[in-house]
């Protein structure tokens, strides 16, 4: 009976995540889609906490909610004319798209259920930040540096792309 609490949290946030994701992909209003995305990212962060990834949950909230979502809202606001207040968006190929994604879901679920996963003993929960930090500075130092350079190049390239043509 003591495992009921995590189950309730899991199913509640799974429902929140999938419901808000559905609004993101099917809602008519762009701003509402952007704010539903916030609920999706937050539920994903809750999942990370339940999986013992506390550092990743913090990064998820900081980078996705604080960074990417803000960028997306800026994008929504800047690419719609101000007088176009309803900010509606359109869909096309709804039926084929729904069929394809439903088929993908059925295939993935079948694979997940039928595969005998070799599960190891569960690790005990603890702070993961020192472990991840040590791994990034020793074993994964080359990918870490490449990711830093990639971030720098991507942000410079983004600034370059949105620059006005007359500056050239």
């Amino acid at each position: 009976m003591e495992t009921l609490g995590p189950q309730i949290i899991f199913w509640a946030f799974a429902a929140l995540m999938l419901g808000s994701a559905f609004i993101v992909v099917h809602g008519k209003n762009l701003v509402r889609s952007a704010f539903s995305l916030l609920a999706t990212f937050f539920s994903a962060a809750v999942f990370y906490v339940m999986l013992g990834a506390d550092f990743l949950a913090g990064v998820q909230l900081l980078v996705y909610v604080g960074g990417i979502l803000t960028l997306l809202v800026f994008g929504v606001m800047l690419t719609n004319r101000i007088y176009n207040l309803n900010l509606e968006t359109q869909t096309f190929q709804v039926l084929p798209g729904a069929l394809v994604s439903l088929a993908v879901f059925v295939i993935l679920t079948t694979v997940v259920v039928r595969t005998p996963w070799s599960q190891s003993a569960l690790i005990e929960d603890g702070p993961t930040t020192p472990i991840i930090g040590r791994a990034l500075m020793t074993e994964y130092v080359l990918p870490f540096e490449i990711a830093s350079v990639l971030l720098l190049v991507a942000l410079l390239g983004a600034a370059m792309l949105v620059r006005r043509r007359t500056d050239l």
Partner: protein, 101 residues
């Protein structure tokens, strides 16, 4: 008890919703949001495998790199959408059918 399969099935549902958004949305920013959903489902899978199968934090490091790539992708894609909007005055993907600016 919540097992690995529960997380994988929820992530598969999230992936399918993101795929549906990519396939059906007309607005470029909305397609970008759907791609973020797909990134998140992949991250949930990575962390779930890291906890239930390998039992260490290696998958979390990979998820961290996925988040970095997602940030780069969002910045560059929004920059492209901005310059597209400056040229076409629209972000509908149907309008963006020629490479010449």
């Amino acid at each position: 008890m919540i097992s690995l399969e529960h997380y994988l099935i929820v992530a598969a549902a999230l992936f399918s919703l993101g795929l549906y958004g990519v396939l059906t949305r007309k607005n470029a920013i909305n397609v970008l949001m759907s791609i973020e959903l797909i990134f998140n489902s992949a991250n949930i899978n990575l962390i779930a495998f890291s906890r239930f199968v390998s039992g260490d934090t290696e998958g979390q490091v990979f998820a961290l790199f996925v988040i970095v790539i997602a940030a780069c992708e969002a910045a560059v894609a929004l920059a492209i959408i901005m310059s597209l909007y400056r040229i076409l005055k629209d972000v509908s993907l149907d309008e963006a059918s020629v490479l010449k600016g």
